[in-house]
Amino acid sequence: MHLLHNEFPQSFHHKPKARAKPGDVITVDVRTEDPADIPPPGDFRLGGETRFVRVDIPLLAENNRLAEENRKHFKEHKLKVINLVSGPGAGKTTLLARTLQELADTVSCGVLVGDLETDSDARRLRHDKVPVAQLTTGSACHLDAHMIAHGFDALQMEEGQLLFIENVGNLVCPAEFDLGETVRVALFACTDGEDKPLKYPPIYRSAHMVLLTKCDIAEACGFDRAQALENLAKVCPDAEVMEVSSRTGDGFDRWIGFLRDLL
């Protein structure tokens, strides 16, 4: 696919190319460099005439264009892509690890996991049959379409069927960044409190599905399930909602069924 760097405004460091085979966990550095080719300050023309120009340039357009390229590319490969988004600690890695255990023996899966610095999530996701690449985002608090293009390039997935993306734990930015995914799944943990969707509506509104996670401890947390479902129905009336526990496996039949239906 590769996306030409001169078409993208930011330059990236690239470590020598290594590709993750099934069972491998590798790290791909996708941090942005400082903008390099910005010209130096011009002359002050004190008292000179100035003029206003209307330009109307959408600033996320570049990401959206690259996301469409990813989407086209994934479609050509018959690959379905699941973007998991949530605030920190809602259970993305735990859900994904169990999902791979239940699915990866029969369905060819790959994983891209975004994280600021550490690779602990990627190591938790290691699976004999699955290539895993950890995308080191540096200071970026979300994944963007360009990082996904590089990450996918680093996975050895010839006949891949499902690509899981664990986004950076953040309830704000990932809502605005299309990655070219097939479905976006927002996790909402019972421990988060029932009003999370009202406080961070865009991320839930941008999702096709909401997974209510950690249901095994909902009662112990005094979680008001009916209120949570009501809030979700107001914020994202079109999203499908499923309740799961990655600890006990409750609700996984439906979740795994949903993933198989994508194929």
Partner: protein
């Protein structure tokens, strides 16, 4: 939280426009930001000032033009201004909508440059 990236993209676009127009300095920038764009104006101002540093836009003024949210009810076929930023309740039929027509814009709207 991604204000830094947006500010940098904005300055890059502004400098490209500046060169295209044969100007040498940017004096002010207007950004158009939707009410639900998840952009914090204070963080945006700070990120903008940093991004301008060392460029022909250094010291440029920043104006932020707000775009109010506009949701769409597919049952009634009407656009409406939601009363809440969290959910969009149609004033005609009372159903909730997840469809936003306006209010997520993040755009470089206008530039003031020398000459």
């Amino acid at each position: 939280m991604h204000e830094t990236g947006i500010a940098e993209a904005g300055i890059r676009a502004a400098l490209t426009e500046m060169e295209r127009h044969g100007a040498s300095r940017i004096l002010s920038v207007t950004l158009r930001i939707g009410a639900l764009a998840a952009v914090d104006p204070e963080a945006m101002r700070f990120a903008f000032e940093v991004a301008c540093g060392g460029t022909p836009a250094e010291g440029a003024g920043l104006e932020i033009e707000n775009v109010p949210a506009e949701a769409w009810c597919r049952y009634c076929g009407i656009a409406f201004t939601p009363e809440s930023v969290s959910f969009f309740k149609c004033p005609q039929c009372g159903e909730y909508s997840g469809e936003l027509r306006r209010g997520r814009e993040i755009e470089l709207a206008r530039l003031e440059m020398d000459s």
